[in-house]
Amino acid sequence: MASTTMPMEHAHSEEAHLREQHLMLDPRPRGEMNAMIMEAMHYTTWKFWVVAAILGAIVLVGLFGSWGYMIAEGLGVAGVNRPVFWGIFLVNTVFWIGISHAGTFISAILRVFKSEFRRPFTRAAELMTTFGLVQAGFSIFMHMGRVWLSYWLFPYPNQRQLWPNFHSPLSWDLLAITTYLLASTMYLFLPLIPDLAMARDRTAGGWRKNFYKVLALGFRGTEGEWTHLRNAMNIFAFAIIPVMFSVHTIVSWDFAVATRPGWNSTIFGPYFVIGALHSGMGAVIMVLAVVRATMKNMKYFIRPEHFDAIGKLMLIISMGWAYFFFNDYMVQWYGGDKWTEALLHWHEAGPMGWMWFLMLIVNVAIPWLVLWNKRWRSNPWIVFVVGLLINVGMYLERYIIIPISLTINRMPFTWRMYEPGIEIPLSIGTLAFFILLYMIASKLIPLVPVWEVQEGQMAHSMKKFGRETVVTVSELE
């Protein structure tokens, strides 16, 4: 935008322009920001309730109703068969775990690298992590044939003297996902404490007061409290990154360690991680666009600069995904194993071949065509659509890797296609549940970490270098 050099007399307007562009240069008194956030939480229109009611109904019927029916009837009501023993439930699991990666990426990696643009939406992203993992957990339990015995997967002392089998990638998975869910929830909660205290202070009474009081744990903001919190957040930011990588790597090992053509690939770990980030960033940008559009006062906190920044990340990740995809494809293709060949042929020329091509278009072609342009990627609705398409593409990728690839094995006599059944309402149910949880959370907890924004605003200032006014950041920590 501001690409031409500006005349001196416009220096003032240049500052104004920068201020308009950057949240960090556009400070408002803390009290005002607090009021804005509180208003955003409290301002609820009838539309919210209608949407929440519809989603609630979907969750009740589509998720819990269908699930109960499936538990009572057996997995026969789903579309799984031999040889496609794994279906959409695991697609959903991988998908939601993927979505959950963006939250950690934004709040931990960007925190570690001190990317300042992250500040207003770390919490929005972390909420996605936690709620996404909840859906992933639901999906993985849906997948089980005898879910009422799922506690056997957890290590606990028992009279049978039998512990889980740690040879199995599924038990690693369980540990990793549990670790990640706990870690991301704690990591969501720690920076939330000061904001809860803020909300507590600004709530006069009623159940909300009690709610915030209990959750704020009696936080006052003493030096000691801040020190402990900062230390803990630093440790979390560093430690949660390898956990995040391990989670999706282990998810990929569910497939990669199997003796199946097409799955047995060493590149699956990083390929899945980058795929997770790909869909996760798409989801973050969708959530931000929706939050900005629907919630009060959010246009102040979430600005085109943020979409621009995430858009750049998305472009890079899309390129990374394409790189890993091609890497995997190339090696499989070159290997010449007849079953792998059959699988690749099935992917591309089989009856579901359209999925494969659509995946490449929406995962690579569209982001590359759109996101290079700063103006386009600064537009919330354009990036919303791109994010949506990427999520569709990444869902297709998992769908191709799981049910479509499972058709092809080393026993051609058993090859059979997969047609989803009750998986469809259940998938819609998990999606609705995710949105519903998010909506409820947006009304209960401050969606923007105000203290972090204020901290950032303190650190930012404008400085003139020659004739140009630029943004400078002071290292406060």
């Binding site: 990793a176 670790t179 744990l217 003493t222 803990a232 979390f236 390898p242």
Partner: protein, 173 residues
């Protein structure tokens, strides 16, 4: 201490608060006789205060070791009841690494989290000295002074730019 009183001075910004702390020091108060309450993390250096002691990193390390030990136990659980699978060793190598890693991290993160609780004595719902304005960006300095010197201290605070100086009363948050 019957002859001391707790005062709470609220400042609109960092500078006056730092000034006030300097004044309190010069009035003879030790660092541990005062405390600062703020709505954003204000580093000790900004206010000229000594570094705060925190146990969180140590607790985190302890947790990590604890997690590692739990992991080690789980790695060796197959020895309790031999069940061979797939021609693999009873205690598989690489999967054990995965297990140890996950449990170490789990221990580390949980203990970090609990460390915050421990160090900050969270949760505490008892009445505490507090001014809600600090969440609006104010900085409150909280100190104990002798009863008889109350006026002097109050004046010093007001001079430094305190908006209000009042007796700190424990209140329900």
């Amino acid at each position: 201490m019957a002859d001391t009183v707790s005062l709470l001075a609220v400042f609109p910004d960092l500078e006056p608060a730092a000034d006030a702390i300097d004044k309190l020091r010069s009035l003879g108060l030790a660092h541990d006789q005062m405390n600062v309450i703020s709505g954003i993390p204000v580093t000790e250096a900004m206010l000229g205060r000594p570094s705060q002691w925190t146990n969180v990193p140590r607790l985190a390390l302890g947790g990590a070791i604890g997690g590692f030990l739990v992991g080690l136990f789980l790695v060796f659980t197959p020895l309790l009841y031999f069940v061979p699978v797939g021609g693999q060793p009873i205690i598989p190598g690489p999967p054990s690494v995965v297990l140890l890693f996950e449990l170490t991290m789990l221990g580390l993160l949980i203990s970090t989290f609990l460390g915050v609780f421990l160090d900050s004595t969270f949760p505490s719902y008892r009445p505490m000295q507090y001014v809600p304005e600090i969440s609006d960006g104010k900085i409150a300095v909280f100190f104990n002074c002798p009863e008889d010197e109350r006026e002097r201290y109050t004046q010093a605070m007001t001079d430094s730019g305190a908006e209000t100086v009042k007796e700190a009363e424990a209140q329900q948050l």
